[in-house]
């Protein structure tokens, strides 16, 4: 693109855009660009790209830090995880998660520190499924909620551990049904619930090798959906719903109580 005999090397054009040219060369390049409109247009395009990138992501650095980035806490949690029995931690974490809340949309506390990013990918999978299926009017599920026994039997068999499908009637949520999905290590199940105003929540379950963790709250990109994820007894649970935190906490708590206290005993 640039004549090899040109007094300005292409690398210098990049350095010009990136403010990495020495002052004397900066003037020389600017003068050269004034006489080379084609390259000047290219440089302008690069500058516009850089500005677009900064405009899009620059503000992230100014966001309030989620509490998970408290370093003392982070180290303490990752250190204590191995020593303390998970159940105690989890119980404490549940209470902390719902009572403490606070912060910029994050509430997960407790034994989350050393959780590898695979928990993140499970959540991403669940949110993806949630987003895909909650908009379905006619076919949101494969098995309708009124065939709960059949569904329990079928999905327990496919997932390889006993499914107990939570009852959320007290929260005004009706079980629409469930479906089988591909999961991180085989099959996954997704159960969908619907409230009086049409809001939908899903519970995604799958076997996982990810270490046990307490509740983690996540907001999906676009802020339309949010999810709470935890791992217990080699199974991951992701509750997804509209990004309305109080309601999601309420639903999660109900589900957590049912799946963790009652069992979901491995078969």
């Amino acid at each position: 693109m640039i004549d090899p005999n040109s007094p300005v090397h292409e690398d210098e054009l990049h350095a010009f855009v990136d403010g990495q040219l020495p002052a004397d060369r900066r003037e020389a390049v600017a003068a050269w660009l004034a006489e080379h409109p084609e390259q000047a247009a290219e440089v302008a395009a690069w500058q516009a790209q850089a500005e677009a990138i900064r405009a899009r992501y620059g503000a992230v650095a100014g966001e309030a830090l989620p509490t998970r980035f408290n370093l003392d806490q982070l180290m303490r949690d990752s250190g204590t995880r191995a020593r303390r029995p998970w159940r105690t931690m989890a119980a404490a974490a549940v209470i902390a998660a719902f009572v403490v809340g606070g912060g910029a949309g994050w509430m997960a506390r407790g034994a989350t520190a050393a959780v590898p990013t695979t928990t993140g990918s499970i959540t991403a999978d669940a949110l993806e499924a949630h987003e895909l299926y909650v908009v379905e009017v006619r076919h949101p599920v494969e098995v309708p909620g009124n065939e709960r026994d059949h569904m329990t039997q079928w999905l327990s068999k496919r997932l390889g551990y006993a499914q107990r499908i939570p009852d959320l009637q007290t929260l005004g949520l009706k079980l629409i049904g469930g479906r089988l999905l591909p999961g991180p290590t085989g099959a996954a199940a997704m159960y969908m619930y619907e409230g009086p105003t049409g809001e939908r929540f899903t519970l995604y379950c799958a076997k996982t090798t990810t270490p046990e963790s307490a509740l983690r709250f996540r907001e999906a990109a676009g802020d339309r959906f949010a999810a709470v994820t935890w791992v217990s007894e080699k199974a991951a649970y992701v509750v997804s719903g509209p990004a309305e935190r109080a309601r999601l906490e309420q639903v999660t708590k109900a589900i957590y109580d049912q799946v963790n206290k009652d069992g979901w005993k491995k078969s």
Binding site: E10, D11, H14, A15, D18, Q20, E42, A45, W46, Q49, A50, A52, I53, R54, A55, R56, Y57, G58, V60, A61, G62, E63, L65, P66, R68, F69, L71, L74, M75, S78, A113, A114, P116, T117, T118, T119, G120, S121, T123, A124, D125, E128, P182, G183, P184, R218, E219, A220, A221, G222
Partner: protein
């Protein structure tokens, strides 16, 4: 806990906002990005003995960049495709439109090019620092930068060449 440790920890802490910014742009997914940052912080705090002075910031970017590559490798092995690149995609109109375009444009880049471009234009690293982070010669940094810019330009100009990576 000695004073040295506190200082190191404070220095690590000071990098968090920039790491989150870089990770967000790198992955275009807030959750994945913050997971990466968290893993990076833990890795750094546990590896203090491996840090032999120098620019801590570059070291942190190096860890994060490598952890992200590991993540992408493990994702690539999985049969399910994660929608990381698409999370930014849906139809938000309005002022976000321009930002959405640049996010999509970034998504079409080869990872190494995206890393180089973001480290330069978003994080303000010198070419030399980027060369250290990516463990490559400066000449390679320049060619990655050039290719990234050419690719984004052609994408934004509407040519929409075939995606080199579909993920």
């Amino acid at each position: 806990m000695g004073g040295g440790l506190a200082t190191f920890r404070q220095q690590v802490e000071a990098t968090i906002p920039a790491l989150r910014r870089y990770a967000r742009a790198l992955t275009r997914d807030g959750d994945v990005a913050d997971d990466l940052v968290q893993d990076t912080l833990l890795r750094a705090l546990r590896s203090e003995h491996l840090f032999h002075g120098g620019e801590l910031r570059s070291w942190m970017y190096t860890i994060l960049t490598n952890l992200n590559r590991n993540r992408l490798r493990s994702l690539a092995r999985r049969p399910i495709l994660s929608s990381i690149d698409d999370n930014d995609a849906p139809d938000l109109a309005g002022p976000e439109g321009g930002g959405r375009d640049i996010a999509r444009a970034l998504a079409t880049l080869v990872d190494e090019q995206r890393e180089a471009l973001l480290l330069v234009v978003l994080e303000g690293l010198s070419y030399r620092e980027v060369a250290e982070v990516q463990a490559i010669p400066i000449g390679t940094v320049m060619s990655r930068l050039a290719r990234a810019r050419a690719q984004i330009k052609s994408y934004l100009d509407g040519e929409r060449p075939t995606l080199r990576r579909v993920k």
